[in-house]
Every structure is written in C-alpha cells, then in structure tokens.
Homo-oligomer: 418 residues x 2
Amino acid sequence: MSLKQTIKTIAKNAKEAARGLRKVDRAKKDAALRLMSRKLLEEQGSIKQENMKDVEQARKTGLSSAMIDRLTLDEKTIKAMADSLNEVADLPDPVGEVTGMWKRPNGLLVGRVRIPLGVIGFIYESRPNVTVDAGSLCLKSGNAVILKGGSEAIHSNLILEKLMREALREVGLPGKAIQLVPTTSRDAVGILLGLKEYVDLIIPRGGEGLIRYVVSHSSIPVLKHYKGVCHVYVDEFADIEVASEICFNAKVQRPGVCNAMETLLVHERIAERFLPAMAERLRDAGVEIRGCPRTLGLVSWAKPAVHSDWPAEFLDLVLAVKIVSDMEEALDHIEKYGSNHTEAIVTNDYNRAQRFLAEVDSSVVLVNASTRFNDGNQLGLGAEIGISTSKLHAFGPMGLEELTTRKFIVYGHGQVRL
Amino acid sequence: MSLKQTIKTIAKNAKEAARGLRKVDRAKKDAALRLMSRKLLEEQGSIKQENMKDVEQARKTGLSSAMIDRLTLDEKTIKAMADSLNEVADLPDPVGEVTGMWKRPNGLLVGRVRIPLGVIGFIYESRPNVTVDAGSLCLKSGNAVILKGGSEAIHSNLILEKLMREALREVGLPGKAIQLVPTTSRDAVGILLGLKEYVDLIIPRGGEGLIRYVVSHSSIPVLKHYKGVCHVYVDEFADIEVASEICFNAKVQRPGVCNAMETLLVHERIAERFLPAMAERLRDAGVEIRGCPRTLGLVSWAKPAVHSDWPAEFLDLVLAVKIVSDMEEALDHIEKYGSNHTEAIVTNDYNRAQRFLAEVDSSVVLVNASTRFNDGNQLGLGAEIGISTSKLHAFGPMGLEELTTRKFIVYGHGQVRL
C-alpha cells in the first residue's frame, strides 16, 4: 500500500471511530483512560526497550544532549504519563453538557449541547509524553485522533499507541479512535493535511517552521500559535518588589517556552528606581539585555536593541527592554509587535489595570501576575492540548471544551414555521 | 490607485477601526444603529433613486423577474430594514460578557470575557437588505466589516453604506467600521481573501459556486455552509397528522432556502398509511416526487429516484423519498448523504426521539418540528449573519455571540509560577 493509501485508510478508520465515539458515555471513556494508565506501568519494561531504540538512533545522528534528555523515558516520566491519564479521567466530561435551553413563544424548547468535533489531526515534534496527552484529551472529548509525531520518537510513540489501543479495545471502544501514522516520512504530513473529507481539525505543535508549513499546506482548519512575543509592562504605579518578582519569573523560570517574557516595557517615571536593579538581577541569572537608547542611559552595560529585537521570540535568556513615556505608548508597542499571546501589567492603579485588561488584544491578559500562567492547567482548565492565538474557535489555552462544539437540539410537538 | 491598493487600504482602515471599536460601550453602538434606522427612513427618496439604477441595469441585462423583485427596494422593504436596525439595537451586547470567573488555589482570579473577533469580510450576492443586516450585526458585536456585495446591487449598497457611515461618524464612532468595496469587479473577492494580515474571518453568503470559490482561495478562516440537504424521518411511531404538517411545511413553505426538506425518509411500518396521502398533498402543491423502488410501489405516479437525487439540494418543489426498514437505516442514510445542516424526526417514541437527537451529527436536530426552524431568529438568537455546517467556532445559525471570541483575564497580586 502506498503511503497516501495508508494515511487515507487511517483517516477513514478515524472517521468511522469518531461516529462510534459520539454515543459513548463517560464511564467507558474513563475506564479506558485508567486502563491505559495501568498498562503504561505494567509494560514499563517494553516501553523503555522501545524508547532505547530511539535514544540510540538519536545518539548516532548526533542530537544535542538536551534533545536526548527530552526524548528519554525513565521510571519517573512513565509514572508521570500514567498519572496524567488518571487526571484526565478525573476531569469532567465536556460532551453532552447542555450549555443553555430556552422556550420559544411557539412552545419549541431549544437547547445547545456540546458534541465532539470529530477527527483531530495532531502533528507534533515534541517528547513522547505528548502522544499520551493528545490521545487522552481527544478520547475524553469524544474525538478520534490521528497522531503524527516526530521521526526521532517513532519507536516510543508506536508502543505508546499500541498500549492505548489495547486499552480501548479491552473496554469495548473502537481501537481506531487513537492512531499513530506509522512512518517517519515527512510526506505523511502533507498527505494528512489534504484529507479534509475525513479530518475536522489540525493542531500542530512544535517550532514556528513546522507550524507555518502546516498552515500554508492545510485544507483543514488549523488551531495554533506561531510564537509568543510576551510583554510585561511595568507601570509608574507598580510596586517595585512585585514587578521585580514577576519580571524575573516571566523571563528566567523557563525561558524556552512560549509564555516567557520577551520584551519588558517600563514607564519612564519608574525607570530610574526600577530598571538598574532589575537589570542587574537578570544579568546575574545570565540574561542578556537589549535596550532602547533610554534604557542604555540607565543600564550602561546593556546591548543596544536593533529593530528586529522588538518582534523577536528569543526563547532564550535574552530580553528586549524599552522605556515608554506613558501607558499609551506601551499599548501601541504591544499592538504593533505583540503576538496576541500573553501580556501582563504591573500596577497598583485601578484604572490602568482595568484599561490594560480591556484594551490589550491577547489571549491571556494579566494584572500583577507572571506571563508564565498562560497554561491550561495553571488557569484551571485541567489540561491543554495547545494554545491558540487566532481568535476563531479558541483564543488562549485549549482544554477539553475547546475540543468540542455545540449543536442545537429542538423539542417540538408539531410546530411548523408560519 | 490600483484595485489591490484600494482594497488593502480598506482593510488597513478596517483594522484600525476595529481597534477603536474594542473599547466602545453599548450605548454608543446602539445610538449609531438607531440613527441609521432614522436615516434610512429620512433618505428613502435617494435610496429608491439609487436602487432604480440597479433595477434598470438588471432589466437591461435580462435578469429574471424574481431576481429583479429581490433587488427592488420599496417603502415596505426600506421600513423593514429600518426596523431591523432597531431590533439589533434592542439585542443584548455580547461584548464584555464575562462567561465565567474562578479562583485558583494560588489566589489568581481567572475569568473569560467576550471580545470582538476584529475584522469580518462579508462576501454576498443577496438582496441589498443584507448589507444593512451584516453592517448592523458586525457593529453590535464590536467588529469592523468589509462588505463585498453583488455587482447587480452596487448603487443600492453604496448609498446604504454611505448612510450607515454617516451615522457612525455623527455619534463619534469610526466611520471605517463599515466599508463597502466600491467596485463591481470580481477580482476584488480574490484580493480580499489574501489579506490575512488585516482580516480575521470571512463569511460568504450565496450560491454553492461562490462559497466553493471563497473556501478554496481564502488564506483567512471561513465560516459557511455549502448546502442544506435536510431530511425529515417519519418514524413508525409518528402521529400521521403531525408528520403531514411538518413535511408539508418543510418542503413547501419556502422551497428555495437551505433549511427546506430535500429528502423524506419513511419507516416501512408507517409507509402505507402515511405516504400515499402525503405524496398527493405534496403533488397538489406542485411538488415532484422522486422515489426509491418501494416508494414507487405506493406512489405509482412518482418518478424513480436516481443516485444523484440523494445528495441533491434541489432548492425547488422537488422531493426525494425513501422507505427505510428501520431507524438505523435512516441514520445511515443521513450520515451518508446529509450535509450536517438540519434533520428532523417525527415520532411519539421517547427513546427514538432521544436517540435521534444524540446521534444525528447536524447543526440543528429537531423532534416533531419543521426543519424550517434552523434560523437564528426562529431559534431565539435574535438575528443571524449566516449558518455554519462546519464545527469549528460555530455550528448552526451564527448570531451576535458567534461574531465574538473570549479572552482570559487574570487578576493577581504578585503571583509567579513555581
């Protein structure tokens, strides 16, 4: 069978499985998730064995030790995957929720009920635990999923898929509800993106290059973010200690992720008191500062920022810093260079806080808190399959609810339209 | 200025206007809508004069009298437009609604608040009143809109746009919030569909050809339905009189619209009692029946259905009829040939009603009511800008809420991520 035929068959089977999933009650889905969890622990030996093949291959091809670290499955990471399956089982089932019901003047009872989207295509280049995350969230929300993981994790992904599918079949659910594309070929992605007859949504997760490729080649709707150019604006009425803690956390705690701060905007009236000490604290943590001319006046050792620094997602211990004359200038800067991802203000002024929340056009806007909270789990959605910075369907972290849609149901007793 | 430059300028201005609209309160938007309503009545003479140019042109080019009828604006249709503007003003403002707010264990207060999508591109070939409908719904939901109407209505659309923009400016809102592409060139559509930097959503309304063109050429997300192949399933436990009223209404009341019935499915155990009389009643109303072989056994004068009749949207007094052996066969038929638009069951059996509602994968699913109720106004959304049969973002009639998205707002007091 050609690759195209293989993937088409997978997609057809996914659509068939999705039809079956529509009518499945929560108890059965949760039973499958808990059984998957047990299987992961029981089959730990085989998982490590398969994972070792990937790790050896990665060593041969000279992947960085950080990459190999991310790839490696040990007792701790397997336990974490098993735990997360149980956590997803514990989350409420979004499917079947009636989000409203009302009576029309003619007696029709109209309601909106949550239903699965259908078939999700999930394209990722992350560590193998994402295979389990995506599989579990899609199952819980009643969707069939087609997983296309990175070639470097193919053996790990294959055994994780196998165990998940065994669990599905053992509780009487369609085994084709979770399918991995069993190839390391890059062509598989392009083929999958053309199957709009079978696939309802594509979610890519990985570097900006992968995501741009997916968006420009997909005939299927895509939920994604390209990058997170997140700003913290320290207002003139900020508490300096609070500002320092938030900026330090937002930049340093995990610089390589999309919700880390990339640009710091400082009101000119607080800059002298705040910026030199803040810059020093960041420098001590290894952060390189790229400042606007006024910043350089206060932080002589900083590098001058060039134009390309303002829209940059450094994903590293690098920070662009700009002193602004007023809040309006901060808002304009965010409007111009931001990525609609995550923005925070630090202020004790009530009106500025409210104005920032109202006017900043980002998926998560915070007052006096770190940008690092843009995360489904941290915000209370229970789990997330990704973050969307386009506004259609989902804006911000995507949890179980974002993997569903709502249809209208109507109870009548013979009504016709006049 | 080239056409491309003109449209790009319109789109840039729309994006600028959308930023301004984000912070506008309801009172101002409603004031603009009510002023538009008054202007339409006051400027009735000029509207009719401009409309007459379109009508004369349409006569010259030999448009059908039905088309000319749809195009013509008289006292009654202008009054209806003016009334609908006031009705939109009366609807609640979706923007700013906090759909939920909760406290996290670390004290963060997290909420989701409704915000406008941004810039809507609305491409349509309908009668001129749609210009006013789209303008008013987009304004009320805080969006800027770019209108690209049909060439046959260009003079009418231009004066309606002019009056709406005057009203915007007079109440102090950005006049560029509602802009019509001032050309009859078809190329304008293609240019607009490429401006993803400025436009957040495209909604096409018109024939299947227009919609397929838009979907295949757009770099911007599109909300649409291609067609409505709507089914009524008359179950063995249907009340025959109720079934007859519903089928008659669904087929005959307005056959040219997307929520009219196109295929009737009849359970074999009720077919003999129900179908011959139903078919006669429909024939008396001018309906042509295209039946499956078993239908032909009961309705000898019916035409035999060919395969292409089952997925067909006739938009006319034509009905495909199939007798099914059981409900399963009806569900399978809908799954295979339906368009996820609108499906109804007629039954007095509780379990079959609930099963149909649960399993049919359509945007509106009804029990004992006509398919003609798939309409934003009829279902209680107040108004609609279109109907979506794809599941992302909106499924079913799209009202004001569907022209918005939700962002997360977070109130903290210095929280950082651990």
